[in-house]
Symmetry: D2
Subunit: 258 residues, 4 copies
Amino acid sequence: MAYGSRMVIDLNADLGEGFGVWRLGDDEALLDLVTSANVACGFHAGDASTMRRVCEQAVARGVVIGAQVGYRDLAGFGRRRIEMEPAELAADVLYQIGALDGFARIAGDRVRYVKPHGALYNTAMVDPVQAEAVASAIADYSHPLVLLGRPDTELSRAAAAHSIPYVAEAFADRAYLSSGQLAPRTVDGSVIVDPDEVVARSLALAREHAVLSTDGSLLTVAARSLCLHGDTPGAAHLARRVRGALIEAGITIAAFAD
Amino acid sequence: MAYGSRMVIDLNADLGEGFGVWRLGDDEALLDLVTSANVACGFHAGDASTMRRVCEQAVARGVVIGAQVGYRDLAGFGRRRIEMEPAELAADVLYQIGALDGFARIAGDRVRYVKPHGALYNTAMVDPVQAEAVASAIADYSHPLVLLGRPDTELSRAAAAHSIPYVAEAFADRAYLSSGQLAPRTVDGSVIVDPDEVVARSLALAREHAVLSTDGSLLTVAARSLCLHGDTPGAAHLARRVRGALIEAGITIAAFAD
Amino acid sequence: MAYGSRMVIDLNADLGEGFGVWRLGDDEALLDLVTSANVACGFHAGDASTMRRVCEQAVARGVVIGAQVGYRDLAGFGRRRIEMEPAELAADVLYQIGALDGFARIAGDRVRYVKPHGALYNTAMVDPVQAEAVASAIADYSHPLVLLGRPDTELSRAAAAHSIPYVAEAFADRAYLSSGQLAPRTVDGSVIVDPDEVVARSLALAREHAVLSTDGSLLTVAARSLCLHGDTPGAAHLARRVRGALIEAGITIAAFAD
Amino acid sequence: MAYGSRMVIDLNADLGEGFGVWRLGDDEALLDLVTSANVACGFHAGDASTMRRVCEQAVARGVVIGAQVGYRDLAGFGRRRIEMEPAELAADVLYQIGALDGFARIAGDRVRYVKPHGALYNTAMVDPVQAEAVASAIADYSHPLVLLGRPDTELSRAAAAHSIPYVAEAFADRAYLSSGQLAPRTVDGSVIVDPDEVVARSLALAREHAVLSTDGSLLTVAARSLCLHGDTPGAAHLARRVRGALIEAGITIAAFAD
């Protein structure tokens, strides 16, 4: 996205997704690459010690802290849709934001944005009831927060209805349908594994807000942030390549929240 | 405790100790009687919806909100000592405070004090390591907090070391040893069930800071707060009697935190 | 249901639905009234000590033990549908059955049937995927088990496909649509609160397999078991009345499993 | 240990210690090396799907299934001592055994032994109350089980009091004090990291029941089983070397339970 004559993009990644003795992804490697950290808040991943540490490390590197909120489902890593009452979902979202915000403030910053995780992310994109529950929770919080998600979705509309700033993100390693939806993970080729292609798509998304869809048409995705994945082998290495290519192309890597 | 020519006492009780479908105690009845609400924060009891509701009800009544922090042990209601690393315990305490503080701020107030629950309360009174972990957590929090507990304990000393204000509480329905310790619950007569005696001891504690110990000696307990129990049958009725007797005796019922 | 010249009905109720310090319903009162106990297995309610105790009490009274299996969702009491992979759901169901069966064997009996709980019950009635997951789990278990649920549902069909005996139950305190479905709880009058009406419907269901639907038509519900609810005030008293009325009408109260 | 003219040793390892999306150790590599699998049962690690899979894989390889029981503490991986009532602990142990036994029976075998995990292991070695709780649970189970642990401990004595067969294990990668206790992990050198030394100690333990203690004296450890660790980098490789060296030395690798 161009600000004046310069192109600017944010890099976000999921962090702090371990739990207790278990680890997932390389938090420290990714913290050196991203500008926005989606920190798990303990309901689907993350524990208090990890949250505290990641907040400290993020602040030390100038990385912006966001709340990666999810369903209360450690056993399912938040990847299973739960049909919740909106009021219960809103309270669960606020609980997670509050807990993380405590650690963010101790580290000298605040939680500045919210990104739903897993099945809550997918549900909030298409289900107006859960989207409204998430947005109303954020609107109720005592500190202004940005919502991060896919553009032109139920969540972006709910955010607008509550006057919550909404930042659009794109995925360089996921196939897009010509409708703008992501191809379902069950479809062959839905996850792009060729590093060169991921880098090329990152550049196209950052420079031209464009990505080739699965039917070959050029799709516009006006994303201010790119989501980097960190939980697969070689993920940190690929994230480093993407970041390097963006910088080399003259694109400014900068957080959307300040 | 006398402020100028008047005697003042706070009444605190554990609230929001249900979880999901399960209820414990009569939150609304007690909220009309106490000046300080120890709200469970989800680790040993309490869920997000309950926390949100109790915070709103407390603020609506002018009741001060405190964080009832405990071990992560829903199955044991926080009544089982867990030998935790101090850093892990401190992070768990901060997580709970942060989560409750989010709801307190939404309701228009803040968490103003912390009272450990169950086995963490008992452990923090006698174990300098866990006492220090709790106190250091509170010292690290971004907002000043008071600690509530028994006087002359490891926790009161750890609070002093961190310059945390410490408020002493007393129990009108528990037998005291002449050492100032509570008689263990396993001892016959350790819980005082006669309502008249509980009322009489409440008055003596509030007016004279005195209570008869199990060996008949008069013990000084300089408490600024009385802990009322709410989770037994008839508890709310007894709490109402205690409050009425204190008011009738000219004692001001007022929170210790403002 | 008539066996030879006699009418026979089973009475089942949900039991052991507390968790830790929290209680729900009057287990002992209901154990004196029912012939089949749906014992919660720890995923949505129930803890190990409660399961052990209820199994012992059931065996002492000759009450048959069934596994009340549910989603892993203590915070939601299993009342929130979770979109799970069938293999994961089957494993979760087997885990719960195995755990309860351990206590049943210690008490001198076995788990003899399975009744899904809450949202899993409702989902298994209408969703062929989750119905199949539950039925396949039961078919895989090392010990023969009966399935208990509403007749003519996805679960009854999945049971038939796996040659699992299926026992139909009816609800004397719930309104039926003329389709045979239960009226949703959100509909006014969906729960019948008049004790006399519940007793009358119990008799009609046991003697004539008939119940008046919400549009006034007579509906056939060929139930071998009546579900009694135990978690509302006065529930045990009403259950006692239903049982008394059935016996007085010459109906034999007997478990479906032996 | 010699049976007739042959020396025989069992190799046991902790398996199935992931939870949900999180993995720990290389289950399949270790299943090809051990004769006894200590399978986590869901309280401190392990989930239903993992338990089912590990049981199937163990049976397919002729590996004996044991229940790795622990405190209900996923966040602490069962490594934090919890002061529990003996009856509650016994019920929790039985719940875990029952759940695993369900999967073992589906896979065509049974749970044949129990090994406490983490803090419960350490506590049961020295605390007669928790040792008795564990032993009484196993004595109550409906199927005979062996207990696996360190020799000459509170747990071995509690097992003897209940006539439960007790199998002694040794640790080739842990330093022993001359008292027979393991050197605490906080002590430098308590964990032996030199692979050659671990192999040498394995041979000495299997052939001569002997190990050099930290003060240089020769200690007798009459172990029928060696515990291999699987959750560190290179663990499976080292386990393979130990197994190879034992076989090359003419020692029979065979389970203690059959």
